[in-house]
Symmetry: C2
Subunit: 232 residues, 2 copies
DNA sequence: AATATAGGGTGTATTTCTTACACTATTGCT
DNA sequence: AGCAATAGTGTAAGAAATACACCCTATATT
């Protein structure tokens, strides 16, 4: 019962703020653009979304091409559509953020497409000038993550599979940009009972080695139908 | 230093879940479509976004045309881009939700455009079948609101300017779909010190009239740089 | 005038969570 | 043997959350 309809096409991009964590700092993966507009500027990895792929798939493509990894944690952040944000017309961008274990890729960052000169991790607190409205997108994404880690165990996406409680605490400290009390942090975190204590210890440190833990997704799902509260 | 760039146009829609609150229930404003696709189906108010307007402006336009009101509280929710969601091609929609005081418009709902046969408030818990992926959009918006009212005073957007504590409690109960304890609710709400107790009382009730309160935005901004916690 | 109805308004005791805070233990290195 | 560096641990006080029941007041009814 449908009349003849024209076929319409959307033109829009997807950009992704990719977070990593190392040396006690949050890092963002930026690319140096090899194309106009903003040639030679730093910016977020992103492409035009094809007509036959979902937005999520486009972001997975971005992630794969820039990191070589599949299955990275990602979530849609916000859609930006200011009239001035793109010199080629009002091109909206659907922004995502992603989190990965930095150890998983090491320094194997190659510019994977012609659009990109090079890719590099930048500390969140020392970002260069960025193309388009990408600075704003990064700010919004860290705000969202700050809130989200309070009730959801996404922080573990940034840690190696096996980690120490100190590493976990440092991660929360980096995300919230504030110091936490060691004893209280451990008490609270262990009480949630979502960590699995391993029989292993840290290696290669020149001091007392710490116990290693894993995030126990099964326990998490069993215990928390809904949410945690890691904040404060 | 920019090469000649083609001018590009995005085609996409904005849809808005408009919430109201009356008779202890959350209501959603739906329109009966007068156009293909999904002619004669219920759906969310929404339009294509013009090339010279921001997405926010497009949503303000939707709100004005359907309610006659300006300055309605609104927020971007999510961008939906499934390949199958629109029969005319992959047309993404940027979904928003909005909240308004139902008393402000009463029953003056007129179909304001040719696209719309009629507009009507529907209880959130008894929605008809909906066009496109609009059911899904509504579900996502109520989830977001459930979370958001826990740390932000947006619930007041749904109440008349002057309201009783019972009305406020009923609103939270409707949003969370659970009963709250009267004494504990009042204790907690009043302790935040963001309500202004008025010298007025409810009128037209056949029982002891309740005190009226206002949300005091100034106090709120002064006291809470960041967030509240209304939950639980 | 008396009574019924319907919702308004209030306090306390218990438990749980949050916070503040400092020392001993272990390991590798010199 | 001793130093350097981080791991690991408990308690007391205050704050917040929860559970819970009765009297008050305005209007409507008889």
């Amino acid at each position: 019962m449908q009349s003849n309809l024209p076929h319409l096409q959307s033109i829009f991009t997807a950009d992704c703020v990719i977070f990593g964590f190392s040396e006690g700092e949050l890092k963002v993966l930026l690319i140096e653009r090899n194309e106009y507009p903003f040639k030679e500027w730093w910016g977020l990895p992103g492409f035009f979304v094809e007509h036959n792929e979902t937005i999520d798939d486009a972001v997975k493509r971005i992630l794969l091409e820039h990191t070589g990894l599949k299955g990275i944690y990602m979530e849609q952040l916000y859609t930006f559509g200011d009239l001035q944000r793109h010199p080629q017309g009002r091109i909206i961008t659907v922004a995502y953020y992603a989190m990965l274990r930095l150890e998983a890729i090491g320094n194997n960052l190659k510019p994977s497409t012609d659009y990109v000169r090079k890719a590099q991790w930048h500390p969140l607190n020392h970002l260069p000038d960025l193309a388009f409205d990408h600075k704003n997108i990064i700010e919004k994404s860290i705000e969202k993550i700050r809130r989200k880690v309070s009730h959801s165990p996404i922080a573990f996406e940034l840690l190696p599979e096996k980690f120490t409680l100190t590493q976990l605490q440092q991660l929360y400290e980096a995300i919230w940009d504030k110091k936490l009390d060691k004893r209280n942090f451990r008490k609270k975190m262990l009480k949630y009972n979502i960590l699995k204590e391993l029989d292993e210890k840290q290696k290669g440190v020149s001091y007392r080695a710490a116990k290693l833990y894993k995030f126990d997704k099964r326990k998490y799902n069993k215990i928390f139908k809904n949410e945690l509260n890691f904040s404060k």
